[in-house]
C-alpha cells in the first residue's frame, strides 16, 4: 500500500474562497469562505436547499463553480491545466444514495478504480479492498452484489470503496439520510472510527449528535452562505444568529 503523502504543515486540506455558484438564474452559493485543516472534521448543517450539497460537490468539481477559488492541499483545482482525475482520486466522496455500482460485486466495486486509476495490480487492489471491508465490518460480503445488501451495508461498502483509494480527505453528503433509523448507527460508528484515525472530513449531516461528538467545527448554512460557525458544542447550545436558532429549534 502506498501511504498517503503526509500533509504539509501549515497548508489547509481544503480552502474555499469567495465561492459563488449559480444554476442559470438561481444563485445557490453566494460567497462561501471556509478552511478545513488536515485531520479536522468539519460538519455542515442547514435547511434543505441552502447549498450544502452544492458546496461539497464544488470541492471535487462535480459541480463547476461560477467564481471564487478552491484549493485542495494547496493546489488550485480550478486551474484548467491540472489533472483533475488525480486530484479527485485523493478526495473520497460518499453519497446519500450510496451509488454503488450494481453490476459489480462488492470486491470489484472496491478494486475497479484502484486498478484503473492508481494502476494497482489485481492482487494488491484486492488486498487493500479486503483491509477496508474489514474496517467497516463487512468482510463476509466481499463477493455479494450491492442489491443483496441492506442500505446500511451498502453505505459502509461505499465508504470502504472511497477509502480503498487511500484518500487524504473524505467528503460525506448526508450519508445516513437515506437509511432506516436502526441502520444509521453502524454507519456513524464507521465514520467515528475514521475521524479518530485522523482522517480529514467534511460532513453534511442532520445528525446533531454526531456533529457535537465528532466534529471539530460546525458550519450552519442558509440561503447559500455560511451564517454561523464554531465549536459544535457552542453553536448547538448557544447559537448566536436568529436563523441558526430558528433552524436548531426545529431539528433538535
Amino acid at each position: 500500500m502506498t501511504a498517503a503523502p503526509a500533509p504539509v504543515a501549515g497548508i489547509p486540506a481544503i480552502e474555499v474562497v469567495a465561492l459563488h455558484k449559480s444554476f442559470g438564474e438561481l444563485e445557490v452559493l453566494k460567497g462561501v469562505d471556509l478552511t478545513v485543516d488536515p485531520g479536522q472534521v468539519v460538519c455542515v448543517i442547514g435547511p434543505s436547499g441552502s447549498g450544502k450539497s452544492t458546496l461539497l460537490r464544488c470541492v471535487n468539481r462535480l459541480e463547476e463553480p461560477t467564481s471564487g477559488g478552491i484549493r485542495v492541499e494547496g493546489i488550485d483545482i480550478l486551474d484548467p491545466e491540472i489533472d483533475l482525475d488525480r486530484i479527485r482520486a485523493r478526495i473520497g466522496m460518499v453519497f446519500q444514495q450510496f451509488n454503488l455500482f450494481p453490476h459489480l460485486s462488492v470486491l470489484r466495486n472496491l478494486t475497479i478504480a484502484q486498478r484503473r486509476v492508481l494502476g494497482r495490480s489485481r492482487a494488491e487492489a484486492a488486498e487493500v479492498a479486503r483491509h477496508n471491508l474489514e474496517r467497516v465490518g463487512l468482510m463476509d460480503k466481499v463477493d455479494a452484489y450491492p442489491a443483496h445488501l441492506s442500505g446500511g451495508q451498502q453505505q459502509r461498502v461505499a465508504i470502504a470503496r472511497a477509502l480503498s483509494m487511500d484518500p487524504d480527505m473524505m467528503l460525506f453528503d448526508e450519508p445516513t439520510s437515506a437509511l432506516d433509523p436502526e441502520l444509521v448507527g453502524d454507519v456513524l460508528d464507521v465514520m467515528r472510527d475514521l475521524a479518530r484515525s485522523g482522517m480529514t472530513m467534511m460532513v453534511v449531516t442532520h445528525e446533531m449528535g454526531f456533529a457535537r461528538e465528532v466534529g471539530d467545527e460546525l458550519i450552519f448554512m442558509d440561503g447559500g452562505a455560511i451564517v454561523e460557525s464554531g465549536r459544535p458544542r457552542e453553536v448547538l447550545s448557544d447559537p448566536q444568529h436568529a436563523r441558526t436558532q430558528a433552524f436548531l429549534s426545529k431539528v433538535l
Partner: protein, 261 residues
C-alpha cells in the same frame, strides 16, 4: 359470486368465438389444393438440406453481422447524440433521421448499385457485402435511439461516483455506464434483432449467388425451380424456428441479469 359467474360467461363466449373461427377456416379452406401447392413431400425433401446448410446458415450469419455492426455504430451514434459538442449532435441526428426515414430496401439498393457507380466505391464482399453494409447502417440508426435512452436511464449518481474516484470520463462510460445501459436496452435490442432477421430477406435486391442466398431468396428460387409453393411454407417454419427460441432465450437471460441487480 355474481361477478365470477359473469366472468365465466364472458370467457365461455370468447372460447366459442375462437372455436367457431377455427371451424370456419378449417371447413372453408381448400385442403386438397393447399396440400398440392404447399405440402409436397418430395419437393420438401429435395430442398431441405441446402435450405438449412446454405439459406438458414446465411440468414443467421447475415443477421449476426448486421446486428454486431449496427450495435457498434449505434453506441457511437448514441454517444455523439449525447455529446456536448454541438456538431456531433447535429451529425448524429441527421444520420438517424436519414436512415430511419428511408426504406431499408432502398438503402440496400443504393449501397449495392448506386455507390459503385457514383463514387467508384466497391464494398468488400461484392453486392452481398454492400447489402450487409446497408443493413448495418440502418440497424445502427434504429439502435442509436434505444441505446441513448438506455444511457440516460442510468442514474447520474453512477457516473458521479466513478468520477469522484478519479476515473476518467471515457473509462466511466465503458466500465460503469454502458454495462448498466445495456441491461436497460436488452428488450428493444432483442426486438431489433428479430426485425433484422426478417430484414435480411431484403438482401435479394442486391442480387445473390447460390452461396449467398438467405432463406427468403432461396425459397423464392425454389418455388420457381420446382413449380410448387412448398418452399415458402418451409421458409416460414424456418424463420419461426429461429426467432421463437431466440426470444425465449433472451427472456431467460433478462431474468438472470435482473436477479443480480
Amino acid at each position: 359470486m355474481r361477478r365470477t359467474t359473469q366472468r365465466r360467461i364472458r370467457q365461455g363466449v370468447l372460447y366459442l368465438v375462437f372455436a367457431a373461427a377455427v371451424v370456419v377456416v378449417a371447413v372453408s379452406a381448400d385442403w386438397e389444393r393447399l396440400k398440392t401447392n404447399f405440402l409436397q413431400v418430395d419437393v420438401a425433401r429435395d430442398q431441405l438440406p441446402e435450405m438449412i446448410t446454405i439459406a438458414a446458415k446465411n440468414t443467421v450469419l447475415f443477421t449476426i453481422i448486421a446486428f454486431s455492426g449496427g450495435l457498434v455504430l449505434g453506441v457511437l451514434l448514441a454517444l455523439m447524440k449525447l455529446s456536448t459538442v454541438l456538431p456531433y449532435r447535429w451529425l448524429a441526428v441527421a444520420y438517424i433521421e436519414l436512415f430511419r426515414g428511408l426504406p431499408a430496401l432502398l438503402t440496400i439498393f443504393a449501397m449495392a448499385y448506386v455507390l459503385p457507380i457514383a463514387f467508384q466505391v466497391h464494398v468488400p464482399g461484392g453486392t452481398v457485402g454492400a447489402g450487409l453494409l446497408a443493413l448495418i447502417l440502418v440497424a445502427g440508426a434504429y439502435m442509436a435511439e434505444s441505446i441513448r435512452a438506455g444511457i440516460q436511464g442510468v442514474p447520474k449518481g453512477q457516473a458521479e461516483a466513478a468520477r469522484s474516484l478519479g476515473m476518467p470520463a471515457g473509462r466511466t462510460m465503458v466500465s460503469i455506464v454502458l454495462p448498466q445501459a445495456f441491461r436497460i436496452v436488452i428488450p428493444p435490442l432483442t426486438n431489433e434483432f428479430v426485425l433484422l432477421i426478417k430484414d435480411t430477406s431484403l438482401l435479394f435486391i442486391a442480387g445473390s449467388t447460390l452461396d449467398t442466398k438467405e432463406i427468403t431468396t432461396f425459397a423464392r428460387d425454389g418455388v420457381i425451380n420446382s413449380n410448387n409453393s412448398t418452399p415458402l411454407l418451409m421458409a416460414a417454419m424456418l424463420y419461426l424456428l429461429i426467432t421463437i427460441p431466440l426470444t425465449r432465450l433472451v427472456a431467460v437471460l433478462e431474468r438472470r441479469l435482473g436477479r443480480s441487480r
